[in-house]
């Protein structure tokens, strides 16, 4: 029987980095922090708010996302959007993911 703590450590290790790719893909359509949190969760990429918010800023700083303040609504919202550079990274990461997937299938003896 797998110990819960052991399981969560390994799951976390395996999923580390997938959130970045998920963000880059989702943010092809501009969105703001809290909505993204919800969207990610519903797409199967559960992430903590205190991880996601700093992550968005880090990606922005790296030039992978661009941002705009939308002040039309009652609350000012910072909308993030995947930049050209981010699109390029998303493409590379996706391809890498597919290759990994194929490699795993081979390992497991599936066609």
């Amino acid at each position: 029987m797998l110990d819960d703590e052991l399981l969560s450590t390994h799951l976390q290790e395996l999923r580390r980095g997938t959130v970045v790719l998920a963000c880059l893909l989702i943010l092809r359509k501009p969105n703001y922090g809290y909505a993204l949190l919800d969207l990610l969760e519903r797409s199967g990429f559960a992430v903590d708010a205190n991880t996601l918010y700093p992550l968005l800023r880090r990606l922005e700083k790296q030039g992978l996302l661009t941002s705009d303040w939308n002040t039309d609504e009652s609350r000012p919202r910072k909308f993030y959007r995947t930049s050209d550079l981010g699109e390029e990274l998303a493409h590379t990461l996706s391809r890498d993911w597919d290759e990994l997937h194929a490699a795993f299938r081979t390992l497991k003896g599936e066609p």
């Binding site: 703001y32 918010y53 000012p76 919202r77």
Partner: protein, 317 residues
């Protein structure tokens, strides 16, 4: 967004987060965080909880503001990370096994020379060793914690190669030499520095007569000389820890040359023994001449051996 009413939990949470991020990021982070929290609270309210409960639950989910702020500021949540940990423990080990025994031995020797009783000698030596260990650990840790936090100017980190594997015997021998050199250096330096107050010979007033020429202190040359010894010890450490390089070899050669030539110059000009001490000790007039002669011979010998070793190392490369 300042309110004159009592600050809410959210205000306090945001305040606690912003305090820990660089000031130029604050307005932007505040606006975004405030909206995010308000959105999350609204969502919970729709589920039918009280505003206070909703706010508390949202902030609990966000977690410790210090952790959130560290994420925003891209600050590590550790003192010394994996990038520097190995170097840190290595340096710490070397300093502890060299400096601590050397300081303890040095202090012990001084107490023996001052003719203190055995318990004082041991007590002071142990105390000094303990203090030295604390300093070594503290300052090394501070240094590495700073290095960890300063944005590195892309230091060319040394790549590990199999060449760096420990040599079974040779390296350990060199390590022992390094320790011996450090101990000798501390003992020798302490002896020189305290020699003016050692009471081997006293004058009519009962004051100590120094073994070494007081001119060395008056001219400040003694400090320059000890400085050379310290630098040479530093270079020995460097030789042990970094891969051999031409600048390092030249530096070592220069320091060895400077030390040897300084000593020879002092001996030739009869600036080593204190004439008053020689007289008080009742040594013959030839004592100074003999001492100077021996020092010159030793220096020439060590200079020749340094040149020979340098050439041999050079040929091996």
């Amino acid at each position: 967004m300042t309110t004159s009413t009592t600050p809410t939990l959210t205000d306090r949470y945001i305040e606690a987060t912003l305090r820990r991020v660089p000031s130029r990021q604050r307005p932007d982070i505040e606006r975004e965080l405030r909206t995010s929290i308000a959105d999350a609270v609204d969502d919970r309210l729709e589920a039918g909880v009280t505003p206070a409960e909703a706010e508390a639950a949202v902030l609990t989910d966000l977690g410790d503001p210090a952790r959130l702020a560290a994420g925003y500021a891209d600050r590590p949540l550790h003192l010394i990370g994996p990038a520097f940990y190995l170097e840190y423990t290595k340096l710490l080990r070397v300093l502890l096994v060299t400096v601590v025994p050397a300081v303890a031995a040095g202090v012990g020797l001084v107490r023996v020379l001052l003719e203190r009783d055995a318990s004082t000698v041991v007590g002071d030596a142990v105390g000094a060793g303990f203090t030295a260990a604390l300093h070594v650990v503290f300052w090394t840790t501070v240094l590495f914690a700073i290095v960890e936090r300063v944005p590195s100017p892309k230091l060319p980190t040394r790549r590990w190669t199999p060449d760096a594997l420990p040599e079974p015997v040779g390296r350990r021998t060199r390590y022992a030499e390094l320790i011996a050199e450090t101990v000798a250096m501390v003992v020798f330096t302490s002896f020189i520095l305290i020699s003016p107050v050692l009471r081997f010979q006293t004058d009519a007033d009962g004051d100590a007569i120094g073994l070494l020429d007081p001119w060395l202190w008056d001219s400040g040359l003694i400090y320059a000389f000890l400085g050379l010894l310290v630098v040479s010890l530093g270079l020995s450490f460097a030789k042990y820890y970094v891969s051999p390089s031409i600048p390092l070899a030249i530096g070592r050669a220069a320091v060895e040359l400077a030390t040897g030539l300084t000593l020879i110059w002092l001996a030739v000009n009869d600036r080593i023994l204190n004439p008053a001490f020689v007289e008080a000790a009742g040594w013959s007039a030839g004592a100074s001449r003999w001492t100077n002669g021996i020092i010159v011979v030793i220096c020439i010998g060590s200079l020749v051996s340094a040149v020979v070793n340098g050439l041999r190392d050079y040929r091996r490369r």
